[in-house]
């Protein structure tokens, strides 16, 4: 089984890339909110990545990743024609999508990619989708054009004010919720602090808020509990009970701590990899 990279687009040099991967059996079943577990090589680690898009006819899935460790750094060196070693999926419960009126989809950083797939699902069923996209500056904004093709509104926030609102996505969200009382759901995908902040903002409005948790995973099918998180005081496995949960009930502090469990070793892996790369380049 080959998981060939059919297309690679560098979205932010050295940082974020998009890969279209040949994986017909995953594409056939993938729904918004699902993720895959992949490995880059025979000695690779299993890491989860949310599916950003899929094309069942072409048999492909799209993933977008931020370079955060050895696996993603290695993946960023891959070119079209090369293959990932393993791709397993689609995993997790798909997003609950029903016709319900206005849905605001908030995306931060690389999370915009996964949010895009969810927004597409909501739009397809006839919901009025408002996308709110944030980044540090305008060069780091992702998927705005794609979102624009099916969302009637795409609102932008940048930390430095280089495009759209000068500030955070939560400012834009809050303003919108104040003006628009008919929002039935807010979906947030992005860094943990962003999802936590979004949940805080929506709480006083009593709007249903769905967040997608990027817990550490091993098998992704409920066999290890690496991905456990506390939701509403109960332990849940993000890979099989989620990855999407009610943002008002998630213990974000715990999630953040658990994400740091292997930080030292992740750093060691990354340094070793960078060292090897540099040696290979003769530096």
């Amino acid at each position: 089984m080959k998981y060939r990279i059919l297309k690679k687009t560098v979205l932010i040099p050295g940082q974020t890339s998009l890969l279209v991967i040949d994986a017909p059996h995953v594409a056939k079943k993938a729904k918004p909110g699902n993720f895959v577990i992949l490995r880059t090589s025979e000695k690779g680690e299993r890491i989860p990545l949310t599916i950003a898009d899929c094309d069942p006819e072409a048999g492909t899935i799209t993933i977008v990743f931020l370079v955060v460790g050895k696996t993603t750094a290695e993946m960023n060196t891959f070119e079209e024609g090369q293959s990932l070693h393993d791709v397993c999926g689609p995993l997790g419960r798909p997003t609950h999508i029903e016709k319900q009126g206005t849905v605001i989809c908030v995306g931060g950083g690389t999370g915009v990619a996964a949010m895009h797939h969810i927004a597409k699902g909501h739009a397809a069923i006839g919901n009025h989708v408002v996308a709110i996209v944030g980044a540090r500056n305008k060069d780091l904004l992702l998927f705005c054009n794609e979102l624009g093709s099916f969302c009637p509104e795409v609102l932008i926030a940048t930390d430095d004010g280089s495009m759209g609102h000068h500030g955070f996505v939560t400012d834009v969200l809050k303003e919108r919720l104040e003006q628009d009382k008919d929002v039935s759901e807010v979906v947030a995908v992005g860094p943990v602090p962003m999802m936590e902040a979004v949940s805080k903002v929506t709480k006083p409005f009593g709007v249903k808020t769905t967040v997608s948790l990027n817990a550490i995973m091993v098998d992704g099918i409920g066999m290890c509990g690496a991905c456990r998180c506390t939701v509403g005081g109960e332990t849940k496995f993000a890979c099989v009970d989620g990855p999407e949960f009610d943002g008002h009930k998630v213990d974000f502090g715990e999630l953040r701590l658990r994400l740091g469990q292997f930080r030292d070793q992740e750093k060691q892996s990354m340094e070793l990899f960078q060292h090897k790369c540099h040696c290979a380049e003769g530096k």
């Binding site: 680690e45 397993c88 332990t235 992740e266 892996s269 070793l272």
Partner: protein, 486 residues
């Protein structure tokens, strides 16, 4: 003759050479080194070749033990292998991991009066010797058929008769090997990236080298079995699709009972608390013992507590030692006598320096402000009346608790069935506890031509019982597909 018999009887069980404890905890290599030919022949000579051998009744798949040891006594290893193989498709695995003391060896007459007889015949060690020696002799040649069937040639694969197995643990591998040797085309769908089930992700290299599992799997590949890794039943495909769209004539579900149980005590999600499944999967499937050469990291600590008393707990404790822990304790709420682990594993763990904290049940895990684990509060227990399982029930001693410092806790208190495939399979009848209901004779489930076996039917059990279930189902499948009584 009588004199010779008396002499034979007095010879004690032949010891198996092992790596010395202080050496082996510095590496991840196999602990038990296996018999030499001389050891094996000596041990085989202890077998009395009883008229009515009781050992066989102790074996879940009723191997003709007398038969294979008889061949060995004559020095005929291929002959012995052929006998084993007729009953057991993974003898080199079972020789290493079966709880022989509760099975064949537990029933051996030589065990009745060990002072006089020197103890039961070491059947497991002989099984391992035969399987390993046979494999070594075959190595290199095109011998897949021989390894699987003991025959030099296999029947042609019939592409029109196809069977799917879901999960690639010992139960499915048995089904696959058996059917393939009859010429039926088998495809095995496995969720993980490697084939072997618990044999790969759970049982550590130092107890069951992965090359052995790979050797068996490679032999099946040569026989035409197709393995598809990264395919999750209930997610990437459904049982219905296998039968209706892909045309499989029968499906075997051997997905194990892999969902880890936690204790539901305070602090369980703190940093440093792991299920044994996660800890062992990182070490074995992820080869975390070879980090950073392999990418998967694992959690390291000086003081480790493992909760539980079964094989899983022993494996986790011994893995922790090898990953550099200074002190590893097994915390168990009953006593040593009730521990379900294989006797040899417990013995090896103690030799290696694992401490036993018996009659202790964790009631809280304690962490610092950063939620990093610093210790465990354990309740002192005493044994009361026997419960339904026949084991004496542990009861708390009021007010008697103790703090055990540790920075890593590994929880090995059992598993439950994984619902992913079960929930996605309409019409599949489950037991009250959530396992698949299967006909004990044929393994057939409530869905026609869909079979199940192994841990997903029985709950966490043993490799040999999973294989036994696989064999029963395979026989029934073969009968239906080929229309012959086998």
């Amino acid at each position: 003759m009588t004199e010779k018999a008396a002499k034979t009887i007095r010879r004690p069980r032949t010891e198996m050479p092992v790596q010395p404890p202080l050496v082996r905890i510095q590496n991840y290599l196999e602990v038990a080194l296996g018999y030499s030919e001389e050891d094996a022949l000596t041990e085989a000579s202890r077998c009395l070749q009883c008229k009515k051998p009781s050992c066989r009744q102790g074996c879940p798949v009723e191997i003709d033990i007398k038969g294979f040891i008889g061949q060995l006594q004559k020095g005929d290893v291929p002959g012995a292998y052929k006998v084993l193989r007729e009953y057991n498709s993974l003898p080199s695995v079972c020789g290493r991991v079966c709880p022989q003391e509760n099975q064949c060896e537990g029933m051996c007459v030589m065990g009745k009066n060990p002072e006089k007889t020197g103890g039961p015949v070491a059947i497991g060690r002989l099984e391992r010797f035969v399987a390993d020696t046979f494999a070594k002799r075959l190595a290199g040649g095109d011998a897949a058929c021989q390894q699987i069937t003991g025959e030099a040639a296999c029947r042609m694969t019939r592409d029109d008769l196809t069977v799917a197995c879901v999960g690639a643990g010992p139960s499915s591998l048995t089904v696959a090997g058996y059917l393939a040797s009859l010429g039926i085309k088998v495809t095995v769908f496995e969720a993980l990236h490697e084939v072997g089930g618990v044999l790969i992700y759970g049982i550590p290299e130092f107890r069951l080298p992965k090359d052995i599992v790979r050797r068996e799997v490679d032999a099946m590949r040569e026989l035409g079995v197709e393995f598809r890794t990264n395919w999750v039943g209930g997610k990437s495909f459904t049982v219905k699709e296998l039968m209706e769209e892909q045309g499989f004539k029968a499906v075997f579900l051997g997905v194990g009972a892999g969902l880890p149980q936690f204790m539901h005590i305070p602090g369980e999600n703190d940093i440093g608390v792991f299920s044994a499944n996660e800890y062992l999967t990182r070490a074995n499937l992820g080869r975390a013992y070879d980090f950073p050469n392999h990418d998967t990291p694992t959690f390291k600590a000086e003081e480790v507590c493992v909760v539980g008393g079964g094989n899983v707990a022993m494996d986790a404790a011994r893995t922790a030692l090898r990953l550099g822990a200074k002190k590893v304790s097994i915390v168990y709420r009953r006593t040593k006598a009730e521990m379900p682990a294989r006797a040899e594993e417990l013995e090896h763990a103690i030799e290696e320096g694992v401490k036993l904290e018996l009659l202790s049940a964790p009631i809280a895990l304690n962490a610092d402000e950063g939620r990093r684990l610093v210790g465990m509060t354990a309740q002192q227990m005493k044994l009361g009346e026997p419960d339904a399982s026949g084991r004496r029930r542990p009861e708390p001693i009021e007010g008697a608790t103790r703090e055990i410092p540790c920075q890593l806790v590994i929880i090995a208190v059992g598993t439950r069935p994984n619902p992913i495939l079960l929930e996605a399979t309409q019409g599949l009848a489950l037991t009250k506890r959530g396992y698949i209901e299967a006909n004990p004779e044929t393994g057939e489930t409530s869905i026609h031509n869909v079979f199940a076996g192994g841990d997903i039917v029985t709950g966490a059990a043993t490799v040999i019982s999973a294989m036994g279930a696989g064999r029963r189902a395979a026989k029934e499948i073969a009968k239906r597909l080929l229309g012959t009584e086998l």
